[in-house]
Subunit: 338 residues, 2 copies
């Protein structure tokens, strides 16, 4: 966010020695009271004139509620000026079919999402929130439609779907196996979705923190795209474009294209650097028990795969690539949406 | 640091809603145990290959000791490769003749400074550490000499001295009233100081966080200057230049020039933006008690004076100005150093 010119104030919800991809970490989690107290500190000194709030991982249901109360209060403060406050919510709950938060975090998120302007679930989180199991393009559209409807949330992006794994229906060509698909939608005034998709080449490596990178870049790029769209969008409640704007011309679609381009460039460079580092720091075999060796090797590989963000900051500002944004063909929509 | 390309890991020693210049804040201080625990987390996952450590404000004597133990451990780990680890220590204790930490923080700092490579006291902190009251150019040189000697610390910068307030001695012309002077020194092999000074135009406004800005920029610029000086400095213990290098050609002097140039540009822009904001947000008179009005006005002025860092990041990378670095004339040194 800072590299794209945003002045940022952070409330840390955890303070860990490292990300959890290392499978071990030390540190502390913020309590709901600590979160609430920091916000009270901002309030008492008139420091709450935020344009955008990005909320991410919160370590308990009470912490989710505390974050939700902040979003709601900022919304209240801005209600005289539509479009002057926007809340991007990443409902961090789990991945790959598995929750990694307590069960009670799910209902807590379901409550606060009703107030968010844009949410960024992954495929699993979209299933949890919509109650729709995503097995095809049609069920994917159904899940997004359900999220718009149940939570009245005007913008949704499902941040990574492996379409080739879904059983195919309709006429939209499935991308090859080494592509990821990102699906987004902004509602029309009747609540129906305006769906777009962007296919991006997948890199053969797991990187930690890409969800946070996506969300942070989206904050900056969406604000930019909405400003470019003009005052009628910039001052519309929740920055929703007029119904006449097609899916592929939504500020949300334009922003997503830029975000994915930056991410692709940074991760491409990260992969090169990782591979070079793994060669340079080749492990010494035979030290410690097999378990210990496996652990050390995991630590080595995880560190080598750390996203090289700062040294590639120019690609955040100017990615120099362009992915195509596609409208969904009608045939891929469930019958009731065609 | 990030805007100059450094990959940074932070251990937060406090988590406050705002800086203390607002005269009110909420939030938490890290305990010594929390600091130590986070470092243990880094150690257990092999994440301690830092090139530089910058330590700043710590909220208690025990926290200072915990930070000191981290610096010492990193130094131990790097001792086979001189120059591969460098510790910049900002001994945050007070300003303008007043301690703003507990009394027991002072002896805690006096212990850990012995292990630091560069310290960045302000005038008051330099007096506390050296035991020398700074009232003239001669006593200023005496204080730096004492700091080099007592703590064996090879690099010192006193980050802001109002020379025109000191009683004059020697032949060095005193800068006009609206200048601040920054004094630095790197020891020679016999422990004597190599003193340089840089006069910079002062801006008529108090800004919070300039000490942290100075320290952070110094980390990046000193490493750059030492690398430019060549491998014989880069791999020397504590990056100390050969005795033949004059004060004005020290990497420390080159780095300080760049740091001060960036700061001047950023603060110049900040002052313009502050003045515009104070006009735009002119206070409504007569609301609340006189005390309440005074408090609201202080909050308004403090917020208006927040350093505009992110939007002026180009001046961190390329300040486009050059201040002159001057050697001290012999006459300004105490007799024993001439």
């Amino acid at each position: 966010m800072q590299s794209l010119g945003c002045e940022v104030a952070a409330i840390n919800t955890v303070h860990f020695s490292n990300h959890t991809g290392y499978r071990q970490f030390k540190g502390t989690r913020a309590t709901a009271t600590e979160i609430t107290d920091l916000y009270a500190g901002l309030c008492q000194s008139n420091l709450t004139d935020f344009d955008v709030m990005l909320s991410g991982y919160a370590p308990s249901a009470a912490a989710v509620e505390a974050v939700g109360a902040i979003g709601l209060d900022l919304q209240q403060k801005a209600k005289q000026k539509p479009g002057s406050f926007f809340w991007v919510l990443d409902p961090v709950m789990g991945d790959q079919g598995r929750l990694y938060v307590n069960d009670d975090v799910v209902p807590a998120y379901k409550q606060i999402i009703k107030h968010a302007d844009l949410i960024l679930p992954n495929q699993f989180e979209a299933e949890v929130l919509s109650g729709v199991k995503i097995t095809s393009l049609a069920t994917l559209a159904e899940a997004i439609t359900a999220i718009h409807r149940i939570y009245s949330v005007p913008h949704v992006i499902i941040t990574s779907v492996q379409l080739f794994k879904l059983s195919q229906s309709g006429s939209t060509p499935s991308p090859p196996e080494n592509f990821l698909t990102v699906i987004g939608s902004t509602t029309r005034s009747n609540g129906s979705p305006r769906l777009f998709r962007i296919d991006v080449p997948a890199l053969d490596c797991f990187f930690s923190g890409t969800g946070d990178m996506f969300a942070a870049l989206m904050v900056a790029r969406l604000r930019e795209a909405v400003t470019a769209a003009g005052d009628h969008v910039r001052t519309a409640p929740s920055w929703v474009s007029p119904d006449t704007v097609p899916a592929t011309d939504l500020p949300l679609a334009h922003a997503t294209v830029k975000v994915l381009a930056s991410m692709h460039r940074v991760l491409e460079r990260t992969l090169q650097a990782r591979n070079a580092e793994l060669v340079a720091s080749a492990p010494q075999n035979g030290v410690g028990s097999p378990d210990e060796q496996e652990k050390q090797e995991h630590l080595r590989r995880t560190k080598a795969g750390e996203v090289r963000l700062v040294r590639n900051a120019q690609f955040l500002r100017d990615p120099h690539v362009d992915f195509a944004v596609q409208e969904w063909s009608k045939e891929d929509l469930p019958a009731q949406l065609q």
